[in-house]
């Protein structure tokens, strides 16, 4: 019943838009109702997308919006196995995060705006998921950027939040410039923007490097990949559910999803770049997470590391593994962020990990789910994160990429290190501040999502994915797993277990040695500073100050000299002055009509000059 499924997709896509419009128009002052309204819509979407997943059939639907010459621009759905997986992940994570937000945003005055923003975000990301052509993807891509901007700046009266939202928006624009140029190049080379048509295009056998490189720019921005990763850690200025939903689970993963969708357009050189920069960033960001005391920033670096791993999988030519890791990561990282939100909420808005401690007893449910998600994050065997991360390591080894494998192993070790550190500082030991002393468990609206996302999905997710889910929904993943063949003596397993034992237990012990301060900072301040310092931000600042500002000043000077000075003062001022001197009356009488008359006379003179010549 393809037509039936199509209308189901209509509902999935436009339900959040309706909810957003309704909340924004009528519920600005009724925050409590808006929260439940938006949450109900999110659960409705989740239910519908489960229906789509269970049906397991592809959906193709397209309507032409405009036609210019031979180029058709349209709106349509292309729901293949990848899209159904992404739809399921996005809608399920989002639904539980909506429920979490109901509790977390309880005391916020602008809840109506917040939930309207979440619904707009849902509409935008679902649009990217179902889009069947590049232009539609781009439109929703920008909408995602907009809703991300709006939600980061939820506390817009705080300077750091306003600055962070601007940074995220502008950094993404840099990437999107490449993206739209890539779309234009696609259009000029192939005359179509439709994914299916591009895939079957006869000229698509030898894709120029430029197409992939330009499309990749969008991915670099949205997925916070290496040179454009700087915005993600600042984006933590948004409320914690936003960080969980947008900047950990779904939006940043949308870049990976998009790359997987257009993977046939990526030339080998582009893939190589993505793989190398991804693996490098995975290792570096993992280590940088060690030098953050803000629990959310530390998690943000962890997200960067995982995005790097996904990028590496893409670059290795295994988009299906990247998508699988995206799905697993979405569940355990959403849990980690929500857990962090619960901790922050419980500790009366304390975000500094050094001022927490001993929360295991005070917040048992949060702690249990956080630990479960952390273990999944560390890729403990048979938890969700293990299936995908191990497979990616395995793929790097099998592909004969020693350096990539080494970087990924370092990333795995770093993951275990910062995870152990986080658990040690936040949940073990004793309370290091009055806030942590008075910590309390969060209400059920916050703990229920934690339990569901944390225990059910991050722990059993991999098991569910590989065995229980209806056949077809995860088709692109299973053959890849079977082909790689898991065996215990594989190098990836060895590396995984070794880093787990060394990193996790080592971190637990190391960070237990110093109380109320960061152990690494005490032992080796220089290493800590090296990891904490934001080198890319410095580079961008240098570029802005030393290059861009100089060029702008030069242009401004030329403008002042040539336009204002020579043209405006000398010619524009001189001619009336001479005429005024000759006729004995002033031409500067401030009469707009007189100036308009002179403009007309000048234009007529110019026209005559041009025609008569």
């Amino acid at each position: 019943m393809p037509s039936d499924l199509t209308s189901l997709v209509h509902w999935i896509l436009f339900l959040p838009l309706g909810a957003a419009a309704f909340s924004a128009l009528f519920l600005r002052r009724a925050g409590g109702f808006a929260a439940w309204f938006s949450t109900a819509a999110a659960f409705g979407i989740a239910g519908l997308s489960l229906c789509v997943l269970a049906q397991g059939a592809d959906v193709r639907w397209h309507v032409e919006l405009a036609k210019f010459g031979g180029v058709s621009l349209g709106f349509g759905y292309l729901l293949d196995a990848q899209a159904r997986l992404m739809l399921f992940v996005v809608s399920f994570v989002a639904a539980w995060i909506h429920l979490f937000s109901v509790g977390y945003m309880q005391e916020d005055a602008a809840r109506g705006r917040f939930f309207a923003g979440l619904s707009v975000f849902m509409f935008s990301i679902l649009g990217i998921v179902v889009a069947d052509n590049l232009l539609m993807t781009f439109v929703f891509w920008e909408l995602v950027g907009f809703s991300s901007y709006m939600l980061i700046a939820h506390h817009f009266d705080k300077d750091f939040a306003a600055a962070a939202s601007k940074k995220a928006f502008i950094t993404n624009r840099v990437g999107d410039l490449g993206f739209i140029l890539g779309i234009a190049l696609c259009l000029s080379l192939y005359g179509t923007l439709d994914f299916a048509a591009l895939k079957d295009h006869p000229a698509a056998k030898a894709i120029p490097v430029a197409v992939g490189a330009l499309l990749m720019c969008g991915f670099l921005g949205k997925s916070a990949q290496f040179p454009l990763h700087v915005w993600l850690t600042d984006a933590m200025a948004g409320p914690t559910p936003v960080s969980a939903l947008i900047h950990a689970a779904t939006m940043v993963a949308a870049g990976v999803y998009f790359m997987a969708r257009v993977s046939f357009l990526l030339a080998p050189e582009v893939l190589q770049f993505i793989a190398v920069s991804g693996a490098g960033m995975a290792a570096l960001a993992g280590l940088c997470a060690l030098a953050q005391t803000d629990i959310k920033k530390s998690l943000a670096y962890s997200t960067l590391a995982h995005l790097g791993i996904m990028g590496c999988a893409l670059g290795l030519g295994h988009p299906e593994l990247a998508l699988m890791h995206m799905a697993m990561h979405a569940f355990f990282k959403a849990t980690l962020f929500l857990g962090a939100g619960s901790v922050i909420h419980g500790c009366h808005h304390e975000q500094d990990m050094l001022r927490m401690g001993g929360l295991l007893k005070k917040m048992p449910l949060t702690a249990a789910t956080f630990v479960a998600a952390t273990l999944s994050n560390c890729a403990v065997p048979f938890l969700a994160g293990w299936y995908s991360k191990d497979a990616i390591l395995e793929a790097a080894w099998h592909g004969g990429h020693g350096a990539l494998f080494a970087f990924l192993s370092l990333a795995a070790l770093a993951t275990c290190l910062y995870s152990g550190r986080m658990l040690r500082l936040v949940f073990l030991g004793e309370a290091n501040s009055e806030e942590a002393e008075r910590a309390h468990e969060s209400p059920w609206t916050m703990t229920l999502p934690l339990v569901v996302l944390g225990l059910v999905y991050s722990v059993a997710g991999g098991f569910l994915a590989s065995t229980l889910l209806p056949a077809g929904s995860l088709q692109p993943i299973k053959p890849a797993l079977d082909a790689l063949g898991f065996h215990l003596a594989a190098p990836s397993t060895v590396v995984g277990l070794l880093s787990l034992v060394l990193g996790f237990l080592g971190a637990l012990k190391f960070y237990g040695s110093v109380r109320g301060a960061d152990a690494l900072r005490v032992v080796s301040p220089r290493t800590y500073h090296l990891l904490e310092h934001r080198w890319m931000d410095g580079l961008y600042r240098w570029y802005l100050d030393a290059v861009q500002r100089r060029v702008a000043e030069l242009v401004a000077f030329l403008d002042l000299l040539l336009i204002n000075g020579v043209a405006g003062r000398w010619v524009g001022g001189g001619v009336p002055a001479v005429l005024g001197y000759l006729t004995g009356r002033s031409f500067h009488r401030g009469q707009a009509r007189a100036y308009a008359l002179w403009i007309v006379i000048g234009s007529l003179f110019l026209a005559w000059f041009l025609i008569a010549r």
Binding site: F68, R589, G590, Q591, R593, A596, V600
Partner: protein, 102 residues
Amino acid sequence: MENTGLAHHLLLAGLLFVLGLTGVLVRRNLLVVYMCLELMLAAATLALVAFSRFNRTMDGAVLVFFVITVAAAEVAVGLALIVALFRQRGTVRSDALTTLRD
């Protein structure tokens, strides 16, 4: 259709343009001047549509959509400026607004 050619359209556009221009030069009320400016713009877009129609392409007609959109935004800004000016100075007569002379 048989009786009207490109020249007729252009003549109409030219007439409209001159009408608008005359208004801009002659009238003193800024609101009327503003309407006359819009008339000039409308004349130009009419010429664009006419060329587009008689050259059998849609390019000009499409461009006109953008022109109209931008013009709408510009009208909003311009009217707001005139209202602000009236609040500030208590008049919208162009010959009373000569501060720039000095």
